[in-house]
Symmetry: C2
Subunit: 383 residues, 2 copies
């Protein structure tokens, strides 16, 4: 019954150094935030991806909340984002009083349809929040042009997009999260690079860099004080406790040190899925992930798009019967119990379609080639 | 020069089991929030202290923010709290639009003067936030009576008050944090029980227990779903990612297992300070911590109150010269750069006095008797 061994949907990968660095932070006695490992991680991320500045946070949700504070969202301000996203993308702005204007997904991809954004812009629009779904880039040139034209902020929800790139119209490769005014990343255990719970705010627009640090430090100018820039520190602004413990950042450091190895194996897995399913998918009218020409692939996720919810559910069931855990993903936020009465009534058919038809396959560093073959075999036999 | 070895103000104490439990959580592969150790900690806290329900959070700040969401603070609502407190006590409510009405401290203690509260209550008052400074209880009977009379919520800021008790007018010993409708605790590395960064919300009023879990889980009914109470989960409310990683809760578990041992040693240290300084303080008109008859003592902090800022600063300087780190504490929030123009102009002289005159002495589990003697000796020689 070897064949029946369960394949989980996700399994956090430990590089082996996590416990070592955890132990180092524990024995150093500095366990609160903004210590040695926090700085190591932040410097690594800035240097690797060209972000203006990085601040680790306790979650991507918290990074998005920092962004909402920084752009000074006021009650009634409108924020445009896809309906096919995680609740935190919306909640972070709703907590500041924003009205969410949901955009539909592209037909070929769950990412927000860039061509649909302009007609959603009103005098109240304050920001656009592109979500790089599955780590795949939104068309940032289009979005940044709109932001320039209408004087809007762009906050990249890069929760899934670590180590991925957008190729702009001049052919430049730009790291996702380095393009918008601000960007939020996740290191939740389901992501490529993890720290259990955790996140990071990239602050690319220099006007926000000083205040970001203050908001991160509970509304105090403590960081500035420790750099000797002010002679005492106190309460100067709103803020929260966004910074994670060194327990979190020391763990994250081990992951970042092994980023290349992690990305390489995930890419192999992604390619094995793609090659194994390509012909079958074409023959059966099943959608595979689309990587647009302006995006590289960070192999965060491998998904299939079925023709309807019944077909999708039957495949999930068949996989489960074979001890393989595959899962659907977001439910359109504009149809949620919380927001359906606040939404303006527009139909967002692509978002609904991805809610019904998309399924994510097991994807984690330690997934073996033989397991991938087994998964592909079960999928092919189920239609 | 053995005598000159530095005595830090704080040193996080590790019981020895932290790395063991961290390793267990790491190797279990469940690193995100709400796993085994989170539940162990929450159950322990509920069972030990009679809280209605407990939810671990990434910080005490976050627990206070959850409280502000739960009592549905709206712009213009007024919240009464001491001026002599940490910025997060105020910011958590300001983020929801509250106006803070600052109360003065007692003359004999930095805690809020209970007798001053009633005249601060208006038709807009929504909540009172007593801060159990140094872990010492506020007079909760007085505060709860006011809350009943004026229909207000009471949120205990119990950041420093783990394992401490209020003796009510009927002689019952009630754990701090179990009395108000809600209470926020901190496990920051400077507290008695630590997890680097970390906190906990106690939810004593049953009306908030279901919604607290939803807000904690990013505004979704995910917890309810996993208990089989609803057949799918989705976005039902505002919320954030308040729950900490299992890395944090596994660490905390080791601390909670050793709570008695930790508290015993801290109490010994506190008593050594008190006995060593009592006569000297009396003779020199220096204030020592006051533990009112209605409070027990969790030995969170040992402080002295000098006659004026010059005397206080000179003692800190003298201690520093002798390689002993003692520190002052809060600056009155009503005089802060952020709030001075928003404050209603009332003088809060006791709060200002504690800002100027209070100094906290080194206080940590591993502080040795001989070090305490050395500290006392230097203090006595400095006046």
């Amino acid at each position: 019954m070897k064949d029946k061994k369960e394949i989980p949907f996700n399994k956090p990968y430990l590089t082996g150094k996590e416990v070592h660095y955890l132990y180092d932070s524990v024995s150093s006695g500095k366990l609160s935030g903004n210590g040695k490992y926090t700085k190591k991680c932040q410097n690594f991320l800035v240097n690797s991806y060209g972000f203006g500045k990085c601040l680790l946070t306790t979650s991507c949700t918290d990074a998005l909340e920092m962004a909402a504070l920084l752009i000074d969202i006021q009650p009634g301000d409108e924020v445009i984002m896809p309906s096919y996203t995680f609740v935190s993308t919306a909640n972070a702005f709703i907590l500041r009083g924003a009205k969410i204007v949901f955009a539909d997904s592209r037909k070929d991809h769950p990412g927000m349809d860039e061509a649909s954004i302009e007609k959603l812009i009103t005098a109240k629009t304050k920001a656009i929040v592109p979500v790089h779904y599955a780590g795949v880039a939104c068309d940032m040139d289009v979005i940044m042009d709109l932001a320039d034209q209408y004087n809007l902020f762009v906050i990249e929800d890069a929760a899934q997009a670590i180590d991925n790139y957008y190729i702009d119209r001049t052919g430049n490769k730009r790291a996702l999260g380095s393009i918008g005014h601000l960007a939020a990343f996740s290191f939740h255990e389901t992501k490529n690079i993890i720290s259990g719970e955790g996140g990071m705010l990239a602050i690319n627009d220099a006007q926000f860099q000083e205040r970001a640090e203050i908001i991160w430090e509970k509304g105090t100018n403590r960081s500035s004080f420790f750099r000797g820039e002010v002679d005492k520190y106190g309460w100067v602004d709103i803020g929260s406790s966004f910074l994670p413990s060194e327990l979190i950042s020391s763990f994250l450091w081990a992951q970042l040190e092994n980023l290349k190895e992690i990305q390489q194996r995930r890419t192999e897995i992604w390619n094995l899925y793609f090659q194994g399913l390509e012909t079958w998918a074409h023959d059966n009218n099943i959608g595979l992930p689309v990587i647009p020409s302006y995006s590289t692939n960070n192999a965060h996720m491998f998904y299939l798009v079925f023709e309807n919810i019944e077909q999708r559910d039957s495949v999930i069931k068949k996989l489960k019967k074979n001890n393989i855990l595959a899962v659907f993903h977001y439910l359109s936020l504009h149809k949620s119990e919380f927001y359906k009465d606040k939404h303006d009534g527009r139909e967002l058919i692509e978002s609904d379609s991805f809610s019904d038809c998309l399924v994510r396959l097991p994807m984690f560093f330690e997934l073996e080639d033989s397991q991938i073959e087994r998964i592909i075999k079960v999928i092919k036999s189920s239609i």
